[in-house]
Symmetry: C2
Subunit: 349 residues, 2 copies
């Protein structure tokens, strides 16, 4: 049996609160029998729920909290006024060694701020990035940053490339992940100075990654590369545009099948195949944005997901821990230090 | 009958060259009987093709050119070395009054560079923007800039908002278009200084537009606002990501219907509805990116489109001309001058 893993959960995060968290934990426990939980939040609803899950209860410890981080609270306010919230205490548990990772479906900005403050970044990393997995024509790819950093200099983008590569190799199991920098197409206008400099650093430096140069927006769903690197502003817009277009197409399809009797009959016949399609693009399967570059495992679940989606976010945390992603990132960065070139000194400062 | 409109066409642009251009022009001529054409390119294939379209021929004048702007040519090289190309001469025809607008499916960067140099920007406009129309859950929206300008200051974004509003009102026929600034969601990280400043200018200034504040990537396909304003880097990534995800979903759907006999039967029954769906999301229907802010009408067709898509790009040019979009933008900007506030002096400099 694998080594025991303890996850600290913000039981109050997410639109559905404790019931989603507890049910999700129960699913994850079946999937990963080596899991134990530290649950932070309002003890009464949590304990009531735990009574229903006989096998989850003995592997869970409940820590009562009075404070809660509201979804619309600014991160700076949360840092000052919600130090004793479930979110904050769950993160502290990781820092203090009481848990191997933390998962929350709560306020993203606050989770990022508490994690940065409490866990700090890995040595050699300027800023943590948010990474997630996307379905593509060829399988899956990872993209980072998805919104943790608006402006990124070229060194930061190079660090993102390294972290994303380690994530793709260890969490997605891709042997030699290819890496691309997100850019725009028009030849004349190819990117700003920052991106061009990052590309030149990634090309020149003797890095242990397969850098494929620039990619464009359509290359994300096409699966042209395994790791797409961009700043948090562009990454966030691309992520949300993709989610919106997916939703629009599913809506289009639904309304197409509602047109007339023949279409309805056709829908019934094709239903098993369409169900398989639905599962394939189920956003819950791709739930769980990981903060990479922190000195600890912190995963953000979508606030609007359900117990199945939350269970998948827990699996992402388990993957990060079982595959030693953070220690591997530290090792890659050490190699970077050893192979230091004039350019690379800038990268690792 | 409406006033005669003359379009100058770069007959050599696009992956399919003159045949797509001539067939597209023929479709557009049926749609808009007041259209006449100035065709620039290699006269031999053009004349051979025109012989097949008896009704197109009498309304077309062919101008032979020896030079051609290759797709991979840098804009700066094109400006120096392809002055006598069909693209360059077609744009000059608009400047010199020989045509009311130009349409090309060729090299985007070169088209932008020639247009800027030859047509110049409208008074009060710093930079032209590329605008296009997108299908949404509620109908259609316009987005700009789609790649003409990588970095935009806040004044430029305000000008984009004004131009996009005039376009949506006159080309899409939306009575009071709403306008949003593309941003990212996390409260703490809401945008950079430029975007926040643009929002504050749009809010404070007594502008004749309905500014709805910030929107996110998913708001584009959701149709939350009628006009989405962003810089050319983010806009280009969002556009191409959306196109890629749409392609991925159509591919998913196809493969779902290929799974087994029942699915195939279901597909046959639902085919009329699925065809309607296909037409609804047909990228050719949304072909034609317009350069807004130029002292003349210039429309860029997708290079990979076919004659139907090219005909739609021609319709976009006709709409721009018939609805006097450029004179209306100038008028809006004049109102801006009249209502000048300390902030707005910066906008219109």
């Amino acid at each position: 049996m694998s080594k025991e893993i303890v996850l600290a959960l913000d039981a109050m995060g997410g639109d559905k609160g404790p019931s989603m968290v507890i049910r999700g934990a129960n699913i994850a426990r079946v999937r990963h029998p080596n899991l134990k939980f530290q649950l932070y939040g309002d003890q009464e609803p949590i304990n009531n729920l735990l009574r229903r899950y006989k096998r989850l209860k003995p592997v869970s410890i409940v820590h009562h909290t009075e404070e809660h981080v509201e979804n619309d609270l600014k991160a700076s306010q949360a840092l000052r006024q919600r130090k004793k919230s479930g979110m904050s205490l769950a993160i502290s548990a990781v820092r203090d060694g009481g848990a191997d990772g933390v998962v929350s479906a709560g306020n993203t900005g606050a989770l990022m701020a508490f994690s940065k403050l409490s866990l700090r970044t890995l040595p050699g990393i300027n800023r943590p990035a948010m990474v997630s997995v996307f379905p593509t024509e060829r399988g899956e790819c990872v993209m980072l940053d998805l919104g943790a950093n608006i402006d990124c200099d070229s060194s930061t983008l190079v660090q993102f490339a390294l972290m994303g590569e380690v994530f793709a190799r260890n969490v997605l199991g891709i042997r030699e992940p290819t890496v691309g920098l997100l850019n725009i197409g028009s030849e004349e206008l190819k990117g700003n100075e920052t991106i061009r400099q990052a590309a030149s650093m990634l090309r020149k430096a003797d890095l242990p990654i397969k850098f494929k140069g620039f990619v464009e927006g359509n290359d994300i769903p096409a699966g042209t590369v395994d790791v797409v690197v961009t700043d948090g502003f562009v990454g966030n817009v691309a992520l949300k545009t993709a989610e919106g277009v997916a939703k629009l197409y599913i809506e289009y399809m639904r309304s197409a099948f509602r047109r007339g009797l023949l279409s309805r009959a056709g829908f019934l016949l094709a239903r098993p195949a369409l169900r398989a399609l639905r599962d394939r693009v189920d956003p819950r399967a791709y739930n769980g944005g990981t903060f990479l570059g922190l000195n600890g495992v912190a995963v953000k679940s979508h606030g609007g997901t359900d117990h199945k989606g939350f269970a998948n976010a827990l699996s992402v945390a388990v993957d990060m821990i079982e595959h030693d992603v953070n220690p591997k990132i530290i090792n890659e960065l050490k190699r970077l230090h050893l192979e230091e070139t004039p350019e690379m000194t800038k990268v690792v400062v």
